[in-house]
């Protein structure tokens, strides 16, 4: 909720935070696919591809999601 409030006040479109043991995404649009090694998340007009190991979608909310696991690579594709 605090994150949402910060986003609202800061007029932030989205935010991707890479953590020690995972990744946190704010203001995502949809989850295209998620497996133990790969996650495809749609944000705004971009498609984020996250690769790594042992992915667990720990938290799923309307505006945010939290994936635990070892993140190896994050790539952004405009489409």
């Amino acid at each position: 909720m605090l994150n949402n409030l910060t986003t609202f006040l800061g007029n932030e479109d989205y935010r991707i935070s890479i953590l020690n043991n995972g990744i946190h995404i704010l203001n995502y649009k949809s989850i295209v696919d998620i497996t133990e090694t790969e996650a495809l998340i749609k944000i705004d007009k971009k498609l984020i591809k996250i690769t790594g190991n042992n992915f667990r979608l720990t938290k799923l909310d309307k505006k945010e999601l939290l994936i635990y696991g070892q993140v190896k690579k994050v790539s952004v594709n405009e489409h």
Partner: protein, 385 residues
């Protein structure tokens, strides 16, 4: 804070399958943990129905937030209801008057006050009154019985009221128009007389007994009473007292330290539960007052003001105990005297020395006002006169 969260466990299902369902059905969740053959997660209570229908081995582990409270009530409602019922019964019973004790030697006054109390609904098997109501009732009873009642104290002791009555004793002071004599208040040797009105019957250096007339209101001429007035004058005399005082050689005196401690506590059926200022000491004088006492509460909030005292062990020698006995005896006499009265002389009559104390018997000569007004009564005229 989400108030309708529950923690669930889904057994024997694959992680990927569950996640895909959750994403596709937009079932939001948090704190997902994957164990060997089970998955734990927190979801909204509304989503449980769908998940439990889809995955047969889904169970609620615990309720969170308001749900937890509601689940507790649902589970223990019989216990809670019986507790509330018991509380109400206790509350009602503890606020019913089961006994009223009126303390007074005057049976007539007792009877009258009982009737007054009944008028104000203070009788057996009626509800107890609040302190405010009791104060009002006390004031009203005092007002309505001001000629017979000096003071009334209504004390609540559990389910009883103890009512202490102090009867009004009216000392009829003769008014200005009453015809009076001046008589001796006590046995004395007259040392000073000034007669302003009336006839002097006694002289200076004359001994008088208690109630003996010193100045009469009768104006006497040639042994005949020619008029009767209110006798006026001043009479002082030498009055004798014997005082016996005992002082132990070893004793304890207590002196105030000036320190005060306020102890606030809950009185629960006579048991003290401290809220603040607990201070256990035997060296204090305590004054207790009620802060909160409501009929719908089965406890009271009390304030205990502790004035701390320092106890000093006194070990006196024989001479010191003798001096102390003299001082105490003098004080016992002077405390009763007015400004113009004083001790003329004193003499120690007897000294008894014991192993633990000294006892003095002291004779006092005191200069004191011995005048007292007494109404003159005239004999009833005989029939036919």
């Amino acid at each position: 804070m989400n108030t309708s969260l529950i923690q669930i466990k889904i057994k024997n299902e694959k992680y990927e399958s569950i996640i895909k369902t959750l994403i596709s059905k937009s079932i939001y969740y948090q704190d997902l943990v994957v164990k060997e053959n089970e998955i734990l997660l927190k979801i909204n209570k509304e989503d449980y129905k769908y998940l439990s229908h889809k995955y047969k081995e889904t169970v609620i582990l615990k309720y969170l937030g308001i749900n937890r409270f509601l689940a507790f009530i649902k589970k223990h409602y019989i216990l809670l209801l019986s507790f509330i019922f018991t509380y109400i019964v206790l509350l009602v019973l503890s606020n019913i008057i089961f006994n009223i004790e009126i303390i007074s030697n005057n049976t007539e006054l007792k009877r009258v006050i009982t009737l007054y109390l009944e008028d104000y609904d203070i009788k057996k098997y009626k509800f107890m009154k609040s302190n405010k109501e009791l104060d009002k009732i006390k004031k009203k009873i005092l007002e309505e019985n001001k000629n017979t009642l000096e003071w009334i104290e209504i004390e609540r002791l559990g389910t009883s009221y103890v009512i202490n009555l102090t009867e009004r004793v009216i000392n009829e002071i003769p008014n200005e128009d009453t015809l009076t004599d001046i008589v001796a208040k006590k046995d004395a040797l007259i040392t000073y007389i000034v007669t302003k009105q009336g006839t002097t019957l006694k002289e200076v250096n004359e001994i008088v007994k208690k109630d003996e007339i010193i100045i009469t209101g009768n104006i006497i001429k040639n042994e005949d009473i020619v008029d009767t007035v209110k006798a006026k004058g001043e009479v002082y005399g030498e009055v004798w007292y014997t005082v016996t005082t005992t002082v132990p050689y070893n004793h304890v005196e207590y002196m105030s330290t000036g320190e005060k401690i306020n102890h606030i506590y809950i009185d629960l059926f006579g048991k003290k539960i401290t809220l603040m200022g607990k201070y256990d000491t035997k060296e204090s004088l305590n004054e207790t007052s009620v802060l909160i006492d409501k009929p719908y509460l089965f406890f009271k909030v009390m304030k205990e003001e502790k004035n701390l005292y320092k106890y000093v062990q006194k070990n006196l020698t024989e001479d010191e105990a003798y001096e102390e006995a003299l001082k105490r005896s003098d004080k016992s006499i002077t405390d009763k005297l007015n400004k113009d009265e004083y001790i003329i002389d004193k003499k120690v009559l007897k000294i008894n020395k014991y192993s633990s104390k000294i006892e003095l018997e002291i004779f006092y000569k005191v200069y004191e006002n011995i005048a007292s007004e007494k109404e003159i009564t005239f004999p009833e005229p005989e029939e036919g006169e």
